[in-house]
């Protein structure tokens, strides 16, 4: 394993390095995914472009117009401990809390978690439930993309050559969403067997479902929305019967594989159980 370690101080510098070394270069943020892959020889980059020296990319701020803005280099620990996030979007705080251990959370970044594009990435389902957008910088300038379109396969994103993720934006409108993320794993340090985020906005009557999102992790090549289950709930009264049905539908939508953590059958069953549990919490039926 021989590689050159490069430390740009600005985004344009980083992009220039990526443009020069093309596929022989890889971006590094906290390194908690990347270094593991390099050590196991899964990847063997000639250049490692470390973004962590770029100042000002670790911000977390909120304004009523844009909503929540998070820099790609914000650490998972910062999200977990941010009172701002806790107040406006508690699901993100809770997802951060369920990701790995404090030591890893200190190093791991939000950008890294998303760009690593693991189907089990713990930050993805909650953010997708909140209709978050990815802010992408590239040679052609900055663009936004719905986060749910950002993932294209295990380890694959929609980022084009030379592009980097610079941040995440969560619309202000979603602050009224009641959302939860439940992770089914032996403990937070383990990767999710199944992760389910459910977000609900109730009508003014406080009973029927005005908006709903169900996002599943670790049961498909990418984090995925259970759209049929969502459709089954939209406009309906969110009671136990509707939830049981939606959970069943979500289980049918999942496309899990069997691996060292669980079989596909078990994952499917857990989608049913945890979709039900997540919806109940989001609907305020259970704690």
């Amino acid at each position: 394993m021989h590689f050159k370690y490069l430390t740009p101080n600005t985004i344009p510098q980083a992009m220039a390095l990526l443009a020069r070394h093309k596929t022989r270069a890889t971006v590094m943020a906290g390194g908690t995914d990347l270094v593991v892959k390099m050590r196991s020889r899964a990847i063997d980059p000639a250049y490692v472009v470390d973004l962590s020296n770029i100042p000002g990319l670790d911000f977390i701020d909120f304004n009523p117009r844009d909503g929540l803005n998070i820099g790609a280099l914000a650490s998972i620990r910062a999200l977990e401990t941010s009172t701002l996030v806790g107040k406006q979007y508690p699901v993100l705080q809770s997802a951060a809390h369920q990701l790995a251990s404090p030591a890893i959370r200190n190093m791991a970044t939000l950008g890294g978690n998303l760009c690593n594009a693991s189907p089990s990435a713990d930050m993805a389902p909650g953010l997708i439930a909140l209709a978050a957008k990815a802010r992408i910088a590239g040679p052609e300038g900055e663009t936004f993309m719905p986060l749910e379109e950002f993932f294209s396969g295990p380890g694959k994103t929609a980022l084009k050559a030379g592009q980097v993720l610079v941040g995440i934006q969560v619309p202000a409108s979603q602050a009224s969403m009641q959302a939860v993320y439940l992770k089914h794993a032996r403990s937070s340090i383990e990767l999710a067997v199944v992760g389910v985020a459910a977000g609900v906005i109730l009508d003014s009557d406080g009973r029927s479902c005005k908006d709903v999102r169900i996002v599943l992790g670790a049961v498909a090549p990418t984090p995925m929305r259970a759209r049929k289950a969502e459709a089954a709930l939209l406009g309906k009264k969110l009671d136990d019967k509707a939830i049981v049905e939606a959970a069943e539908i979500a289980a049918g939508e999942a496309r899990p594989i069997s691996d060292v953590r669980a079989s596909a059958d078990y994952r499917t069953e857990m989608v049913r159980v945890f979709t039900g549990r997540a919806l109940r919490v989001a609907a305020g039926i259970a704690s």
């Binding site: 593991v36 032996r186 049981v244 078990y266 069953e269 039900g276």
Partner: protein, 786 residues
């Protein structure tokens, strides 16, 4: 026994300061930056079973920095091994598991060694393989791993090679007592089941590390992470390489855990060092540890029990099929010694047949409990099954059948130091057996308690010796050959010496870990150090006291037997107010020298004169074991019936340690055993795909974390002290027994919570959920509530 001043006290570990300040040396610290040192790397077989057609090392040898590329041609022709000589150090004609050693590269840098490794071209002809032990055991199994087995040399317990039922079976161990057929005829109830245990890894935190240095005088100095510098390093290297003991020196430092693992990185380091004449260091990666450490022996267990209506056990028949992997290693001994556990109950008719079977999986071996936890997985669930069928209380059923002090057990040994009943009572009381659970069950979460009783013997046929030197300044050097593997034995041994000599423990220095400097010992195995080495040290202390009195005799004008040495003073027995300091015996200005008698050096040895090996046909003997350590575990679990997840809410252990020389260290052993026990019960399993380990790292392998263990108030470790008459101050070994009852205790609790009995390990959420669903189906319910 008179008042004890050091034994029984929570003396702070002698190594505490070194370890918390990070100055303690471990095997991997050896030779860092040493000029001329080479790095060794091993090429492992990617196939579970294959013939080696050719090996091309020409490109590997050309890599700059490479000093040697060794293959099967470069190792001794004779096969080597632990119990059975069935292996070449590097494969010669065949590889038999994914991870079999094929070549060793020694190079000036690790990078060069790795580069060369990748350039070795091996042509294989892949052969059919067998992974399932029951399949491999069949007389007509088409895959035969070792066609030459009948001609292989056996180094110990050769009778284990008699009556082998198939070409892949290398071990058959028998125990016979009474007549089981007759016993089953007398029984009112017969219970029969099949159980299995998983392949699990020791997961000691420090991966194996070894440095082999050829000295100019022809000695090979091997510094390695080991539990026995003599048996594990010196004796083995001598045998493997045909060297005399005077030419091999085994050295060890602190090691980061062991639990029975035997990775033998030093064999590859030694091989490369002998061939290059240079020091060679070999460090295994975590991944390599998983397939080279000799995992816990997976067993399939067929158990049949017969009982009378009143709960009296009348017959037990047990057949064990053990997946030993591609080479026998130490498994014949693990299988033999795994039979001792059943002796805790009175069973007049007993039949045990255990088979060690070759398969194309990684070789298995010793693991905390040494073959006893596996049979207990079956036997202690059976006790609960029987109790339920007879409508008896399971505590009472066990108490009723427990063997008593002085009684002859099913191996013909006289039972002594029997603390099992008290262990059972202690845990039953703490967990609140028969009383409500700490939290109520809900619709989906079921809470219940369970317990189990198990034990671990200490092997009888080993030897310990020790030297003790009394110095002028009142400090005492204790030399012995058992290694510190993290358990804290050096502290315990210092306490024994301090007690015997009447000096403060701060004045004891313990010297260990070098076969050139310390007397012989069998090593830190089988929970034997406290008892065997402790006794040897005690004898050496008594010897030095005799010498002190003899030396003082002319000076003090009294016969040696009228004097007593204690605490650095020599007293007149008739008048203890008159004494002389031991320091006055020494030459002025010298630390250790006496005027005439060189030094105050005592020596001691401990071994059993009258031990018996056991009859090959019946396993009966008179002294097969040195001591038994009993452990009872009681747990309270919460089972999520929708996910199959089990949370251990409360955990209690009680362990009969004979006497706790250092109670805190005993409790630490108990706590560690509980953690490992929970892991083995609920999470841990090496997953293999056609012999290849899929989860060989801490991310994918299910070791329990802090979060899976009950917190302070929900975890209790009791120590029971049924003094052993032959132990130092009554102590016996206890480290290995610490996890033997965990898995059946948790299984019993899960059954009590859900009515589902799991017979295969681990009790993973998925396995439990499947069983819950099957139960629901049987009961005619549709799938459970959401």
């Amino acid at each position: 026994m008179s008042e004890l001043s050091v034994v029984g006290k929570n003396v702070i570990r002698l190594d505490a300061l070194e370890k918390v300040t990070g100055t303690a040396l471990y095997a991997a610290d050896e030779a860092l930056g040493e000029p001329g040192m080479l790095h060794g790397k091993v090429l492992w077989s990617p196939h579970a079973h294959a013939r080696i057609i050719s090996i091309d090392i020409s490109r590997a040898k050309k890599v700059p920095g490479v000093e040697a590329v060794l293959t099967g041609k470069d190792v001794p022709e004779a096969r080597v091994g632990s119990c059975v000589d069935d292996q070449h150090m590097l494969a010669r004609e065949k590889v038999r598991f994914v991870g079999d050693a094929v070549a060793v590269v020694a190079a000036r840098t690790l990078e060069a060694a790795e580069e060369a490794l990748a350039l070795i071209k091996v042509k294989y002809e892949v052969l059919p393989a067998v992974f399932d032990a029951e399949e491999a055991m069949r007389p007509d199994c088409p895959v035969v791993l070792h066609p030459g087995l009948s001609g292989y040399k056996r180094n110990m317990y050769p009778y284990l090679g008699n009556d082998l039922p198939g070409p892949n079976v290398h071990t058959h161990h028998k125990v016979r007592r009474g007549n089981v057929e007759e016993g089953f005829r007398q029984a009112d109830l017969i219970v029969e089941n099949r159980f299995s245990t998983a392949r699990i890894s020791h997961c000691q935190l420090e991966p194996a590390s070894s440095v082999a240095r050829p000295n100019v005088d022809g000695t090979l100095v091997i510094s390695t992470s080991t539990k026995s510098v003599y048996t594990g390093v010196q004796a083995e290297v001598c045998r493997f390489f045909g060297l005399p003991p005077s030419k091999v020196r085994g050295v060890t430092h602190y090691i980061g855990g062991n639990f029975g693992s035997a990775p033998r990185a030093h064999i590859f380091a030694a091989l490369a060092a002998i061939r290059t004449g240079r020091p060679v260091k070999v460090v295994f990666s975590r991944e390599e540890c998983f397939f080279r450490d000799l995992n816990r022996l997976p067993m399939v267990i067929y158990l049949k029990d017969g009982v009378k209506k009143d709960g009296t056990l009348v017959a037990r028949q047990i057949k064990l099929i053990c997946n030993c992997g591609a080479y026998a290693q130490i498994t014949p001994l693990v299988i033999r010694n795994g039979s001792f556990g059943s002796s805790q109950y009175r069973i007049p008719n007993f039949r045990w047949d255990a088979y060690g079977v070759y398969t194309n999986e990684p070789p298995s071996g010793a693991f905390r409990g040494f073959g006893n936890a596996q049979p207990f997985w079956a036997m202690e669930q059976h006790m609960d099954i029987i109790a339920e069928k007879l409508r008896m209380d399971p505590v009472e059923l066990r108490q009723k059948n427990l063997i008593a002090e002085g009684e002859e057990n099913l191996r013909g040994e006289k039972t002594h130091s029997m603390g099992a009943a008290e262990c059972l009572d202690k845990v039953a009381q703490w967990i609140g057996w028969g009383r409500p659970t700490s939290q109520p069950s809900s619709n989906t979460v079921k809470v219940a308690k369970g317990f189990a009783l198990a034990n671990k013997y200490t092997q009888v046929d080993t030897i310990a010796s020790a030297l003790v030197r009394f110095n002028k300044d009142g400090f005492v050097d204790v030399f012995h050959g058992s290694d510190e593997i993290g358990q804290g034995s050096q502290t315990v041994l210092a306490q024994i010496a301090a007690e015997e000599l009447g000096v403060p423990v701060e004045k004891i220095k313990v010297i260990w870990g070098d076969s050139a400097r310390v007397p012989y010992d069998h090593g830190a195995i089988s929970s034997r150090t406290t008892m065997f080495v402790g006794n040897a040290i005690r004898a050496a202390c008594q010897d030095v006291k005799r010498l002190i009195c003899a030396t003082a005799s002319p000076v003090m004008g009294a016969a040696p037997e009228d004097l007593e040495a204690r605490g650095g003073q020599i007293y007149f027995r008739s008048n203890p107010s008159k004494s002389m300091p031991v320091s006055d015996l020494f030459l002025p200005g010298r630390a250790t020298c006496l005027p005439h008698d060189a030094e105050l050096l005592g020596q001691g040895t401990f071994f059993y004169k009258g031990y018996s090996d056991g009859d090959p046909e019946t396993g009966q003997g008179t002294r097969l074991t040195a001591s038994y350590c009993y452990t009872a575990h009681a747990v309270e679990v919460a089972v999520d019936t929708e996910t199959g997840e089990v949370k251990v809410l409360r955990f209690c252990s009680a362990t009969d340690v004979g006497r706790a020389i250092n109670p805190k260290l005993c409790e630490a052993q108990s706590e560690g055993g509980i953690a490992q026990g929970i892991g083995s019960a609920l999470y841990e399993e090496m997953l293999l795909d056609r012999g290849r380990v899929l989860n060989c790292n801490f991310h994918d392998y299910g070791m329990p974390r802090m979060t899976e263990l009950p917190g302070n108030h929900d975890l209790k470790c009791f120590l029971v002290e049924a003094n052993h008459r032959e132990g130092p101050f009554g102590a016996k070994g206890m480290g290995e027994g610490a996890m033997t009852p965990s898995a059946p205790a948790i299984a019993n609790a899960i059954y009590n919570a859900t009515g589902v009995r799991l017979m295969d390990l681990p009790m993973s959420p998925e396995r439990l959920l499947r069983a819950l669903k099957a139960q629901n189906k049987e009961a005619g319910h549709k799938s459970g509530p959401l």
